[in-house]
């Protein structure tokens, strides 16, 4: 950066005094030609972000307008922060934020560690056939759509004849309709998420585990370390950075609580715990056509998500772990 500033100053003094620019920033065109294949490789990515991530931001301004499609974005009245104010002062807001954060926290503190545990368990399996079979089996649920998963849950917990409904109520000595009881909503959502995505989530950790230096284990064995000690002192430290990066990435998606799953699982009796940002945006925006208001809600969600990412990243750095930026 300093060389560039010096560069500008030199131009002001007169062209004759211009020093030779550093070789790596000779000129853009030259670089373009020289690294054309790299740039070509980059192009689809840049294009993707420009088209699908940055271009739509132009439309995000409808959160600050009373957007009526017929009048167009520019033609709709500018109302500033009005929609944000009405959302933040709405009694729905604390409830939705709370529900979203609780579901996200459950995912982060229960479902996420389970992925690591499962990956380490799989890693410990010595019989390759068994390991591969189990791996394949736990990946399968990932490929089922939420609609199927929720239908299965509906069948399993059907009042009167669902096998899990019968078993659980016998065990607990109760007569609960698990699908409608607000106390059971979060456990069910969590169980579904674990069932569906834990296996798939192990892939990246298994890759990290595979790269752990085997000599370290050998050294640990010679030092007399047991299995648990090896896990604790060799395996975990070795994949620590992967865990941290995955954790930060996970926090970024934390508020994407999974629209389909929650939408399909909610009903009049559990809505008090089931309403999250995504379903709220769907109901107000798509169902009711409150385009501007729902966009404001979506933006508010994005801001909360951003704060969480920065927070986790800062925390990781403070704990002397490499963050993602």
């Amino acid at each position: 950066m300093t060389s560039a500033t010096a560069d500008v100053g030199a131009v002001d003094d007169g062209p004759l005094l211009r020093p030779e620019p550093p070789p790596n920033r000779r000129n853009l065109l030259g670089n373009l030609v020289r690294y054309r294949w790299l740039f070509l490789l980059l192009a689809p990515g840049v294009l993707y972000f420009a088209l699908f991530r940055f271009w739509p931001m132009y439309g995000a301004q409808i959160a600050f307008r009373n957007y009526i499609p017929f009048l167009g974005i520019e033609g709709s009245e500018w109302v500033g922060w009005e929609h944000f104010q009405s959302f933040f002062s709405n009694p729905d807001f604390p409830r939705i934020l709370g529900n979203t954060l609780i579901l996200a926290a459950l995912g982060l503190f229960i479902a996420f560690p389970l992925t690591i545990v499962l990956a380490m368990l799989l890693n410990e399996v010595r019989l390759q056939v068994l390991k591969r079979t189990v791996q394949t089996l736990v990946y399968i649920p990932h490929f089922l759509s939420w609609t199927v998963v929720v239908s299965l849950t509906g069948l399993l917990f059907a009042v009167g004849n669902g096998p899990l409904w019968t078993t659980l109520n016998d065990l607990l000595g109760s007569d609960t309709n698990f699908l409608a009881d607000p106390d059971w909503f979060r456990p069910l959502i969590l169980l579904q998420s674990i069932w569906k995505s834990t296996g798939w989530g192990t892939i990246i950790f298994l890759a990290a585990l595979a790269s752990v230096d085997q000599e370290q284990y050998e050294a640990a064995i010679i030092d007399g370390a047991g299995r648990w000690q090896r896990v604790w002192h060799v395996t975990l430290p070795a994949i620590r950075s992967t865990i941290v990066v995955m954790l930060i990435l996970q926090t970024g998606n934390i508020l994407d609580t999974g629209f389909e799953q929650i939408y399909l699982m909610s009903n009049a009796l559990n809505r008090s715990v089931a309403d999250v940002f995504d379903t709220y945006v769907y109901f107000t925006g798509i169902r009711q056509g409150a385009y501007s208001y729902s966009t404001a809600v979506g933006l508010a969600k994005a801001i909360v998500g951003l704060i969480l990412i920065f927070g986790t990243n800062a925390l990781a750095k403070r704990l002397k772990q490499p963050g993602i930026f």
């Binding site: 294009l47 271009w55 017929f70 009042v159 009049a268 409150a290």
Partner: protein, 517 residues
């Protein structure tokens, strides 16, 4: 070497294409993809409509071709499954490819704000002028109810005013020596007996009284609960008290009705999964002999009768009984429909000038002739149905086609100036009797119908917050029935409704009511 040059150029060109395709998105939709020119007459008419059939009609469907001939221009219908139709309206309105005519199913914010901003043609004068005789409503009240504060934005799709009914297992009544209910008290007694007195005589405690499914939407959606509340005299969504409108759920009669409903639920006289049961499976417990009472539209009785006939010929008469409104403790009230199910509105961004508008209205007029009504509701004469003694008789071998006609084309029917298509020949004697009974009940109940006095009024706050507001009360109602909350919880929900914008809705509705009502 040649490849080297071409690849980057190809990428750049592809990128540019995508960009141009996208930049069309910003300008609010001036033109449409329908293929007509900006100024001249339309050379085709695109209509967006919902369908209920398994699959929508193909573009070369014979009914479509025949209707196009009547209309004088090719009709292109964009069929959307009914379950996602509401979503699609709002997405289409926000996009560029807006059809010439849209079936609008609800006055939600997307539609109302667009209409009031001038996005739809206001049709009040055109429709009432008499230039389009088939579009002059025979029921001006319903037309007004379909509008927005006195402005009519579409040709409504007429529906029977009385549809709500009580459907009961006739054989269970017979087994227990019970009569059809006349009062809400009778109904509660039947529900009890159906649960506790072994109506199917199999010696097992495996039945319950009323079947209630999960009901999407909040209040005032003709759910079984709404029906009972109207019978109790709570009014229909709003109640006029000396010129002032109050929400039905703030009346003591509403609370009384809830007490009654709660009693049914808490005593186990209602299916235990009433809060989660899929409405699509509503018929099953009735058919399987698990439950014996359904509060729903009259046509469900015919549907059930049909299903029983399929199981065992001639059995329907002994299984299905139909009753109309029940007398409540506070008088006799019947729950009517709004008399319409959405309306066909004409967006301004696709029908750009008055000349084109008149052309579209003329086409809609042609689509309301008796010939068009027969096409839309029955299909092609001589193909899937024939006319015998003035009745339409369907060809069982073409049942699939008939289902598609009734499940799709019938959705375009408006019939505001009357419905003159051939009546359908009932398949069995019992279905004929059921049809006559329906007409008789409709006449009886119409005298007691309690209409929503604010049906045609649209308040700003309700447009923005209506769904959440309705859900507050709708959810609290179910929670109260389930025993999750008590009276105080119900009060708290009403209070929440008030502070979340409900009070504002009441004020706005009353202002409009005093101006227009």
């Amino acid at each position: 070497m040649r490849m080297r040059r071409i690849a980057p150029i190809a990428t750049a060109v592809a990128g540019a294409l995508v960009l141009t395709a996208c930049s069309g998105g910003g300008d609010g939709g001036g033109d449409n993809g329908g293929g007509e020119g900006g100024d001249g007459a339309l050379d085709s008419l695109t209509i967006m409509a919902p369908y209920f059939a398994e699959v929508p009609p193909e573009s070369d469907d014979p009914v479509g071709t025949a209707l196009s001939e009547l209309a004088g221009v090719p009709l292109e219908v964009q069929w959307v499954p009914n379950t996602s139709y509401g979503d699609r309206i709002n997405t289409v309105l926000a996009g560029d490819d807006i059809p010439d005519v849209m079936v609008i199913t609800g006055k939600d914010q997307g539609f109302v704000s667009t209409a009031l901003a001038g996005g739809f043609w206001e049709l009040t004068e055109y429709l009432q002028s008499g230039d389009y005789p088939n579009l002059v409503s025979e029921n001006p009240d319903v037309e007004l109810a379909s509008g927005v504060n006195g402005q009519i934005f579409g040709v409504y799709r007429a529906r029977d005013v009385i549809r709500s009914s009580v459907i009961i297992r006739q054989d269970w009544l017979d087994n227990l020596g019970l009569e059809l209910p006349e009062t809400t008290e009778d109904l509660a007694e039947i529900a009890r007996a159906f649960t506790e007195d072994d109506p199917d005589g199999n010696g097992a405690d495996d039945t319950y009284g009323m079947i209630a499914p999960q009901w999407p939407g909040g209040i005032g959606t003709s759910s079984p609960y709404d029906t009972i509340e109207v019978w109790y005299g709570s009014g229909n969504v709003w109640r006029d008290e000396g010129g002032e409108l109050v929400p039905a759920f703030t009346t003591p009669e509403w609370r009384e009705a809830l007490e009654y409903e709660r009693e049914l639920v808490q005593s186990g006289y209602v299916n235990p999964d009433y809060a989660t049961m899929d409405p699509a499976t509503w018929n099953e417990p009735f058919l399987n002999g698990q439950g014996g009472i359904i509060l729903d539209v009259q046509s469900r009785a015919a549907q059930l009768a049909d299903l029983f006939e399929q199981q065992e010929e001639g059995s329907a008469a002994t299984k299905v009984a139909l009753a109309g409104q029940l007398e409540g403790p506070n008088g006799t009230f019947a729950l009517p429909t709004t008399g319409y199910a959405g309306f066909l509105a004409i967006p301004r961004s696709s029908v750009e000038n008055e000349e084109q508008l008149e052309q579209v209205l003329q086409i809609l007029n042609d689509l309301n002739t008796t010939e068009a009504q027969n096409l839309m509701n029955h299909g092609i004469e001589g193909d899937n149905y024939t006319v015998e003694d003035g009745f339409a008789v369907f060809n069982p071998e073409r049942q699939e086609f008939t289902d598609q006609v009734t499940g799709a084309w019938a959705q375009l029917g408006m019939n505001v100036a009357g419905y003159n298509a051939h009546p359908i020949q009932p398949r069995t004697e019992f279905l004929g009797e059921l049809g006559e009974l329906r007409l008789q009940l409709q006449e009886e109940d119409a005298a007691n119908a309690v209409f929503n006095p604010a049906a045609g009024l649209v308040s700003d706050t309700y447009t923005t917050n209506g769904t959440q507001l309705d859900n507050i009360i709708g959810d609290a109602r179910i929670q109260y029935l389930a025993g999750q909350i008590d009276e105080a919880g119900l009060d708290a929900a009403v209070e929440l409704w008030r502070t979340s914008g409900g009070d504002q809705v009441t004020t706005e509705i009353n202002e409009l009511y005093s101006q227009l009502g």
